[in-house]
């Protein structure tokens, strides 16, 4: 049976590191950076630059004059919006392919990641947390699935056999069959890529936030709930759509009411709807 350490040691099996994201996040949070530094960071990736420009020129922002350089794009849409856009583009490269062992077609895991990112952003706004950090947690919460798809073969069928037989959530079935689950693998990968602890730990403990450290606990609870919200609005495709559990203390931990939860469902659905057509038109 392969271990997380063995998987991480084989770089050929891993997706390319999204180095730009933690760097951008640091600039965004610390206010230490300038648009010039961000432009320099993004410029090394021409495809990324082209997609950022296409998006900032899209009808979504409603500017009459098109812009053809990053500096102008940043001044128009703002740093936070730029970060979200770069996150969407980078995450498509990381999780945009078909993920056969979870029965996810091309683009479906990315769709789920975007949905969770918006869930986290909206939850952050309601709960007074940093929206960019939370957005990143949602965006990268399932990166481990693509790695499992690369490294684990037929053995993975036993995970779904176990879910059907024992009616247990996906993370538990993975633990029993593989010795680890995709959230733990995601955490290890994000740590290797030097993402902030709050992000990697929230991802790692998304299925059981009770184990997270006090510093990261709230974010893990938020991600725990975001998985359910994404499923509730139809954005958790694949064989394991509903093979998840929600701990009863989630409401209490996040001080949420049922009514607020339902209204968050509506907000997230509306947000995704508004962005979806623009993603297509900007060819992101």
């Amino acid at each position: 049976m392969i271990t997380i350490q063995e998987i991480l040691a084989d770089d050929k099996q891993l997706p390319p590191s999204p180095q730009i994201l933690p760097k951008l996040l640091t600039i965004l949070q610390g206010g230490e950076g300038t648009s010039w530094e961000i432009v320099e960071l993004a410029r090394v990736d021409q495809a990324l630059t082209a997609q950022v420009l296409a998006w900032s020129n899209s009808a979504f922002y409603g500017f009459s004059e098109p812009c053809d350089d990053l500096e102008t794009a940043i001044s128009r849409i703002g740093l936070r919006e730029l970060y979200k856009l770069v996150g969407m583009i980078i995450s498509k490269r990381l999780v945009g392919s078909k993920v056969a062992c979870y029965v996810l077609d091309e683009g479906q895991l990315w769709e789920n990641s975007i949905a969770c990112a918006f869930c986290m952003e909206i939850l952050a706004t309601k709960l007074g947390e940093n929206p960019s950090e939370c957005y990143t947690i949602g965006l990268l919460h399932a990166i481990g699935k693509t790695v499992i798809n690369q490294c684990v073969d037929k053995e993975y069928d036993n995970v779904f056999a176990l879910i059907d037989e024992k009616m247990i959530p996906l993370n538990q079935a993975e633990q029993e069959v593989l010795g680890f689950n995709h959230a733990q693998l995601s955490q290890a990968l994000l740590e290797k890529w030097k993402f902030p602890q709050v992000i990697s730990e929230a991802v790692g403990f998304q299925y059981d936030p009770r184990g997270a450290s006090p510093k990261c606990s709230k974010f893990a609870w938020m991600m725990h709930l975001a998985n359910w919200i994404a499923a509730g609005i139809g954005h958790n495709p694949g064989r394991d759509s509903w093979a998840l559990d929600v701990l009863p203390e989630t409401f209490e931990k996040l001080s949420l009411s049922e009514t607020l939860l339902h209204s968050i469902l509506l907000d997230v659905h509306e947000k995704i709807d508004s962005v979806k057509s623009q993603l297509v038109s900007a060819r992101v």
Partner: protein, 176 residues
């Protein structure tokens, strides 16, 4: 030419019904589809005499949550959604006496916490759909509800056949 496809099948047009949306039609060359029914519920209607049918895909059980949203997008909720769906079917001349209904969806989490009803929204959506349909004395011929899989529905208006697709396979149901 027994067994050869009908001309209309070559031109079959797909109309996709999104979350919080509904569509009705009397065009027999049309297939109505709705994707990713998770805890949401899909209500399908078919009047076999004049080949009129429709699909409603709602997300939440009760419109009292947001009166404003319910006004803007009534199909988002079971109560207001079933009403606009029925009104739209009636506009196409559907006779409820001879119309068959089918409901699907209402998936829930695999929870070991049985008291955890807040998150079993799928079950509540199913209850709300049945209650709203009962107000119209609508005949629910069949259902495919609960479980922990997303579902996709296709209604072929020419035949009244529904395909219910899940990751584990396809089920065929006739509303004739």
């Amino acid at each position: 030419m027994g067994g050869s496809p009908k001309t209309s099948n070559f031109y079959a047009q797909r109309i996709v019904v999104g979350v919080g949306d509904m569509t009705t039609s009397n065009n027999t060359s049309v297939v109505l589809s709705t994707y990713a029914l998770g805890s949401c519920v899909g209500v399908v209607a078919y009047d076999s005499i004049n080949s009129v049918g429709g699909i409603l895909h709602f997300m939440l059980p009760d419109s009292r949550l947001s009166v404003e949203k319910a006004k803007k997008q009534p199909s988002m909720f079971a109560d207001t959604g079933v009403k606009v769906f029925m009104d739209s079917l009636a506009e196409l001349g559907v006779d409820l006496q001879r119309t068959n209904f089918f409901i699907a969806g209402g998936a829930s989490v695999i929870s070991q916490n049985t008291e955890n009803n807040v998150f079993k929204i799928g079950e509540r959506n199913v209850v709300a759909a049945k209650a709203a349909l009962a107000d119209y004395q609508a005949r629910i011929l069949d259902e495919d509800i609960g479980g922990f899989n997303n579902r996709t529905l296709h209604l072929i208006l020419e035949t009244g056949v529904i395909e219910v697709k899940t990751p584990s396979g396809t089920k065929i149901i006739s509303l004739q």
